[in-house]
């Protein structure tokens, strides 16, 4: 099924309105920040698009954290973001992230926001398409618990690259692909980042997504990520998976096997953040990716102004609308992809 032109316009209008009403009802303020930036958050596998000596943002995270550090209080925005060469049925080089931050909040509260946003956008779209409104409950599952359930592997999530390889290859060699950057001259942190990212991508594609997609209505938060995959989230003792020594307070929310949102308890330590960026820079070097500057201004804000304790998440607006329409292809819903 593909949506008619008029319905494409109508579902996006309904969805944006639903998102704004929800946040307003929760007391978050809508903000605007520049899309073209002189620094972007460093990621090994997210490529920014250059725009006359600057970059188009890959997410509004650094800009919004700048506002939080200056005392904005709880905020959200629907931000256009750009990621080079991501083109597929559920990927576009340009899309919109609904991104929000709550002060002093645990990720738990932000996950409730994810659930509420999915409900209110699904309802708004159902009304436009004259579909039946319905409620589906969410499951919250620990990362290592899901690894065990989908593969039988017992991981703690703090293994180094060599230990991870040993555990995986001992029982499931077909689930191992040699990661880049595993030579002795590479620092341990960078090796771990490379190995965990490669393994996570492989596991996600072969095991997690098919498992999540078995029920197209299933809604799952995957919580407590391995420490090497912390990205910009805080690392600390687990809340859910008590047997693990330390976890990243990062979660991903999936609907019917489609990744929809990613959230963090935000890292506030400038030194730790700088080290993580350095690992990414080193990995990007080894992968021969274009060099990106260290986000010096963002690090200075963390160090000098300080980020208040906060949690945040980002959700893909187009994917959310697509799922609300019961579809699994962006070309079926985007108003300007209809020729």
């Amino acid at each position: 099924m593909r949506l008619s032109f008029d319905r494409r316009i109508a579902v996006f209008d309904a969805a944006s309105h639903a998102v704004r009403s929800y946040f307003r009802s929760q007391g978050l303020r809508e903000v605007v920040t520049c899309v073209r930036r002189s620094e972007v958050a460093l990621e090994p596998y997210i490529e920014p698009i250059e725009a006359s000596r600057k970059w188009l943002q890959t997410s509004p995270e650094l800009a919004m954290k700048g506002l939080l550090a200056r005392g904005s209080g709880a905020i959200y925005q629907i931000a256009p973001v750009f990621r080079r060469a991501e083109i597929g049925a559920m990927h576009r080089e340009e899309f919109r992230l609904v991104e929000w931050y709550r002060l002093g909040a645990a990720t738990e509260k932000v996950r409730r926001d994810v659930e509420a946003l999915v409900d209110c956008v699904f309802d708004a779209v159902a009304d436009v398409l004259e579909l039946r409104r319905r409620r589906v409950s969410w499951e919250t599952r620990g990362f290592c618990e899901l690894v065990a359930e989908t593969t039988g592997l017992r991981l703690r999530g703090d293994e180094d690259a060599a230990a991870l390889q040993e555990i995986v290859t001992a029982s499931l060699p077909e689930l191992w692909v040699d990661p880049p950057a595993q030579t002795a001259d590479v620092e341990r942190g960078t090796r771990d980042l490379a190995a965990w990212t490669a393994w996570f991508s492989h596991w996600s594609d072969l095991c997690l997504e098919p498992w999540l997609a078995r029920d197209p209505n299933r809604r799952v938060h995957v919580v407590e990520f391995p420490v090497a995959l912390a990205a910009l989230s805080e690392v600390g003792p687990p809340i859910r998976e008590r047997q693990r020594p330390v976890v990243a307070h990062r979660f991903e929310s999936h609907v019917g096997g489609v990744e929809l949102a990613n959230g963090y308890r935000e890292l506030r330590d400038a030194t730790e953040q700088r080290e993580r960026f350095a690992r990414v820079t080193r990995l990007r070097e080894l992968l021969a990716l274009p060099p990106l500057p260290e986000p010096a201004q963002f690090l200075a804000e963390l160090r000098e102004l300080g980020l208040p304790p906060c949690s945040g998440a980002a959700m893909g607006l187009e994917r959310l609308v697509m799922l609300a329409c019961g579809l699994r292809e962006l070309s079926a819903i985007l108003p300007d992809s209809l020729r």
Binding site: Y45, A85, S201
Partner: protein, 186 residues
Amino acid sequence: MDVSELRKNAKIKLDGHPYVVTEFQFVKPGKGQGLYKCKLKQMITGAVIDRTWRSGERLEAANVESKKMQYLYASPDGYTFMDNQSYEQVDLNEDVVGDDKHFLLDQLECDVLFYNERPVGISLPSHVVMEIIECEPGVKGDTATNVTKAATIQTGYVVQVPLFIKVGERIKIDTRNGEYVERVNS
């Protein structure tokens, strides 16, 4: 070429043989590595294989030349095309033409692809206009635009069309996905 340049219909060389990408899927965990999952058709034998690449990998493009030719007819030898300048004819077998056969109308101009001077495939115009030869009558009063019915075009191919389409009308079809685009008023 970089793996990120892969698209449907891209021509690449693998183990010394030319392949065309017939299905292409890009998947990627938000912060993870991208995977390019492809079905590839060997351009000479028609054999189909699955391959997955990861972001950052490199591929060799196949050096395929294309020539504008006109489709003449189908015969037990396959599908015959003619070069309008030299009148030279070539036959392409069914494996090579594949699903594109659904959109071959007499005298259709398209690109015939050659690898080492051997015809290995065709590249259709992105859209073709076809006549409906058979379909159910539409239901009056049903204006919901997402409701469709099956209709058969001249080549025997069955396509989903909106309810208002009638036998004898001409429609535009996207040859890349085989889907109905719009009614053509002549």
